[in-house]
């Protein structure tokens, strides 16, 4: 385009300030532009009301319930402040539930970290274009189908007549499975009624929640930091420990918040796959339902909140968020 043709299109005289757009929408646009905070307040009001009243409010109500107690004879709730319900949590049967759930959540989180890291690392470092799209699809696809369907699918896979047992038999490795199932705590009649089965199903359903934040964190680590580390004499293992892991830590913590808290609160997976021993979620479910003991259910529900609080506090003290 020549200079002449550019100037030719400028023939119509146009004023420096354009006239205001008519109508209410035009006036509103101008108002929002002049007072951006007003627009912000308008946009934030509905979600804040939702969070403040419906969410935080009900959480507060829950917290309040946990300080009430139940009258053992009448089954009525005694609305007086007491720590009696919390003391009940420390009874052996209830405390077992808490320990079992926390140990399961911790193991699921650790396994998710170990499995997710190579996948996330590959996606962040090497996958390009089409392969990256395929990665997102592969990670997200399981999230699109119903969680119940997936858990029931795992029940079939892990059942005594299931494909896993069949495969191990073909490989002449059945002795390995039987040996494992004979172990206390982790074993059982078949994988689908063992704690191992619960663990496998948990790791499967929560894995995407670990991969995605981890991949996002690794994506933000510039490739030349890895090169710089290697240049300064660090072996690949040292580079992983001193550079990659610390820089991926915020993503790992974010992911572990998901896997840890989701496992702490879940009551469907252990009900379908696993032993008859209860997890916190199941305890809450049965206490507020059949048992009608709302205060104890509330106290159980507070446990994951407190544990997550300590977990985040510990992570912060470890410097997990320093690189953010």
């Amino acid at each position: 385009m020549s200079i002449a043709s550019v100037t030719a299109t400028r023939q119509a005289p146009v004023s420096a300030i354009l006239p205001a757009r008519g109508g209410m929408l035009g006036a509103l646009s101008d108002l929002f532009w002049r007072r951006p905070r007003f627009l912000l307040a308008l946009m934030l009001l509905p979600p804040l009301l939702w969070l403040g009243i419906v969410y935080i409010g009900s959480l507060f109500a829950l917290l309040l319930q946990s300080f009430f107690s139940i009258d053992e004879f009448s089954g009525l709730i005694n609305r007086e402040f007491t720590l009696k319900t919390y003391a009940e949590l420390l009874q052996a049967a209830n405390f077992d539930i808490i320990v079992r759930t926390v140990v399961m959540a911790a193991l699921v989180t650790l396994a998710s970290i170990v499995i997710a890291f190579p996948i996330a690392y590959y996606a962040a470092r090497y996958a390009q274009g089409r392969w990256k799209a395929l990665f997102y699809l592969a990670v997200m696809l399981p999230l699109w189908s119903s969680y119940l369907v997936k858990v029931y699918a795992w029940k079939l896979i892990l059942a005594k007549e299931g494909i896993l047992t069949w495969l191990l038999a073909k490989l002449h490795l059945l002795w390995l499975l039987d040996g494992w199932l004979a172990l206390p705590y982790v074993g059982g009649n078949s994988l689908s009624v063992s704690a191992t089965g619960t663990f496998i199903a948990f790791v499967y359903v929560w894995l995407p929640f670990m991969i995605l934040p981890m991949q996002a964190a690794l994506e933000r680590v510039p490739g030349n930091l890895v090169e710089a580390s290697s240049d300064l004499g660090a072996s690949p293992g040292q580079t992983f420990r001193n550079v990659l892991f610390p820089l991926a830590l915020p993503g790992i913590v974010a992911g572990s918040i998901f896997t840890f808290s989701l496992t702490l609160g879940d009551y469907i997976v252990p009900q379908i796959i696993g032993t008859s021993r209860l997890f916190i979620g199941q305890a809450v479910y049965s206490q507020q339902g059949t048992a009608g003991n709302i205060p104890l259910a509330a106290a159980f529900a507070v446990v994951p909140i407190v544990i997550m609080g300590f977990y985040l506090w510990g992570a912060k003290r470890m410097g997990a968020f320093d690189a953010l």
Partner: protein
């Protein structure tokens, strides 16, 4: 081979690095002497950075041999080379403070904590950042980060220090200061510096020797004076010092030989007097550069650039002028016409 005085710090023999069909570096021979300040100069994509990465070990040659102080380096990972790099954007570890960044190389080599922190403090003092150890890289200015990157490399006492456009991100004043500092640091330490840059002024002012790269090949290696005054090819003449490249016909008329030639802008003198052997020209552009003014002259279908020192009278755009130059100032190039 045992390294002696004559062993080059870095030696490339017929080295190639191809990425598919792209020949980033092709059939390259190069010797960099121990203790010299060597610059690799060239436009982006000319293969100079690939060369640096080949020395560092981030890239492996597709053909040829690379020796570092007489020892074969193909297949040796970066972490087993006593060579350190100052990266273009410094690549400081954001989660470590400055002192830990500098001590990193010693830390991974298993040097004790007190010893390595002491060495890191000394390295920081060397680059004139004493007492900055507790800060995070994010709290430093670009120039300070550059010094930290330098200290982090030097603390390992490398046999060769590689610098990948280390001054590119700094502003002009800081860049000039750093150029002088780097040069005196190199002289004081006696370490071989290999410096990649696309800035010809930087290469000429700092290096003992310069290699000019183009399209994966070295066009010319020599001292800054040689490169600037006696370019071998049109590319070198054009890229280094923005010399006027003269076609064979023009050169034959004024220097008697039918060869490509070059003429530096400052060799052209503008005169008002059109007599004698002066050449007629029209001024087609005037750029004020501070210390001098650069004129674009159109003559005989040729565009030449002349540099006129500030203070002298400068013609205006469109003026018809005449210019002369000393016939000896025409440099004849090796390149065939």
């Amino acid at each position: 081979m045992i390294a002696n005085e004559m062993t080059p710090a870095v030696s490339f023999q017929n080295v190639a690095r191809h990425f598919g069909a792209v020949k980033a570096v092709d059939a390259l021979d190069l010797d960099i002497a121990a203790g010299e300040f060597f610059a690799m100069l060239g436009p982006s994509g000319s293969g100079k950075t690939t060369c640096l990465r080949l020395i560092a070990g981030f890239e492996q040659p597709t053909a040829g041999t690379i020796s570092i102080f007489g020892e074969r380096a193909e297949g040796v990972p970066p972490y087993r080379r006593n060579v350190n790099t100052v990266f273009q954007d410094y690549a400081l570890f954001p989660h470590l403070n400055v002192l830990d960044n500098v001590a990193y190389g010693l830390m991974v080599k298993g040097v004790g904590k007190t010893e390595r922190l002491k060495a890191a403090e000394e390295a920081l003092a060397l680059v004139q950042l004493p007492g900055y150890g507790a800060r995070r890289p994010g709290q430093l200015s670009g120039g300070q980060r550059q010094r930290v990157a330098l200290a982090r490399a030097l603390v390992n006492q490398p046999k060769v220090l590689l610098l990948d456009e280390p001054l590119g991100a700094l502003d002009l004043k800081l860049r000039e200061n750093m150029q002088e500092e780097l040069k005196s640091l190199q002289k004081a330490l006696g370490i071989t510096f290999v410096f990649v840059t696309h800035d010809q002024g930087e290469a000429l002012s700092m290096a003992d020797r310069v290699a000019v790269f183009n399209e994966g090949k070295i066009m010319q290696v020599g001292s800054p004076q040689e490169i600037y005054q006696r370019p071998k090819t049109r590319f070198v003449a054009d890229f280094v010092g923005s010399s006027n490249v003269l076609p064979p016909d023009f050169v034959q008329r004024y220097a008697g030989q039918r060869r490509w030639g070059s003429l530096r802008p400052e060799a052209i003198r503008i005169t008002r007097d059109a007599g004698g052997d002066a050449i007629q020209a029209r001024v087609s552009g005037v750029s004020y550069l501070g210390a001098s003014t650069r004129l674009a002259l159109d003559t005989e279908g040729l565009r030449l650039h002349a540099s006129v020192p500030s203070g002298s009278t400068v013609p205006e755009q469109g003026d018809a002028i005449a210019f002369t130059f000393n016939r000896d100032a025409i440099h004849l190039m090796d390149e065939a016409p």
